[in-house]
Symmetry: C2
Subunit: 224 residues, 2 copies
DNA sequence: GAGAGACCTGAATCGGGTCTCATGTCTTGC
DNA sequence: GCAAGACATGAGACCCGATTCAGGTCTCTC
């Protein structure tokens, strides 16, 4: 597979590009963790370096030893989150035998991540306006896996051969995203708490939709 | 239909809530127009009141005679854009006879608007982070129409009765959005110009996907 | 135990934003 | 032609954020 492995991580460097001692690595990690918290809480523009460094318990200047600026931490964070979402999806799909159930499992993995970290997934979406390149990377990496899976499944006869794998992959991802937004990010109980997981009925409804969309049709290969 | 009519517009008021003379109304309109331009060009956070008033050719203070602040103009703009997107969709669907072709036409209307105003559709999406309430309104209004249409089509036998209309409506809208983003907002030719319209092949592929997803299945009502 | 890096710090600099307000200018009714 | 009220203005008060930098401190090596 040419798809990027969701488990590899780059070596941490200082802002100047130099390698770090373990003390430096630890501090860098604390900044990243604080950034995750602050961005998730406040969104990109309300977040500030001061708030991040305060939350990390370090001096303001220290931040600039490890990052060029706010945008760079943000990008690194999105890339990390992308790895984590894909890991969640990959884990969920691991046991599936045919493509249709793999598809369902993949969505469950995605919904599980979103339910567990609603604010974090919002961070990823905000990348569209903060760092479009990074968002492209995010979506592209997810779609690549999808597309390969769909192509293989078409060869197996699990998926309608008339469907274009690329367009279909984007359509499925979009469907998953809006469903996640609607039923996980928007839904709040009386105390304002988000749901712990996607309601089974929604997962079922969505699975039915996907099964319909993907399964080979017995007859009627009509006009385009 | 209980769906909000995309053609009605509220009366313009001053920031203090007073009705306006025609001179005032004209100025207010110029601000809104300038805001549309500036937000589309720069995004919410890069945009500033100064830039908006400069573009409108009026003094800075004048802005505050008509709006409470940046956020309020933004929200008004998003609501206006929502009306325009829905109008574009409704016009495209007007001639359709059955639901499946109405669906396809609706997407064509949506893609037409996005292709004609790529930057404007980005403004709508940015509302997720600037004014979540307004974005909810945007999506909800679109989904309402969808859902009613799907329900009616199920009664007619045009659409698989096993599908949940609400979940299906959100899934379709999400699919349309990501396809729009991928093939309209991202695609640039050598000069960096966006495509004038959605490629026919993508529309066809998407239509096939939707037809599969919605059409009643002859047999196999399998497990959930 | 002393020197060399690596690491840390926050006051100060700089830039840019929103919003107010005291001071005009138009337009309309009479 | 002259109030009165609607409309217009932009300098300035105020706020807040990113980034720099000169001066520390820590830690490791020999």
């Amino acid at each position: 597979m040419s798809v990027a492995d969701p488990h590899t991580e780059p070596r941490p460097l200082s802002a100047a590009g130099k390698p770090l001692t373990s003390r430096g690595e630890a501090t860098r990690g604390r900044i990243l963790e604080a950034a995750e918290h602050v961005f998730a809480d406040l969104g990109y523009h309300e977040a500030s370096i001061v708030k991040i460094t305060e939350h990390a318990g370090i001096g303001l200047g220290t931040f600039y030893l490890y990052f060029d600026g706010k945008q760079q931490v943000f990008e690194e964070l999105v890339i990390d989150l992308n790895r984590r979402v894909r890991r969640s999806m990959a884990e969920a799909m691991a046991g599936a035998t045919d493509r249709i159930s793999a598809e369902r499992a993949g969505f469950e993995g995605f919904f599980r991540f979103t339910a567990a970290h609603p604010a974090l997934y919002r961070v990823v979406r905000e990348a569209e306006f903060v760092s479009p390149e990074t968002l492209r990377l995010h979506y592209t990496r997810i779609v690549e896996g999808y597309e390969t899976g769909l192509r293989a499944a078409q060869a197996e006869g699990d998926v309608d051969e008339a469907l274009d794998p690329e367009v279909t992959a984007w359509a499925l991802m979009g469907a998953g995203e809006l469903i996640g937004m609607r039923y996980l990010l928007w839904e709040r109980d009386a105390d304002g708490a988000p749901p712990a997981e996607m309601p089974a009925s929604v997962v079922d409804d969505m699975a039915r939709f996907i099964r319909n969309a993907l399964s080979p049709r017995a007859s009627t290969e009509g006009s385009a």
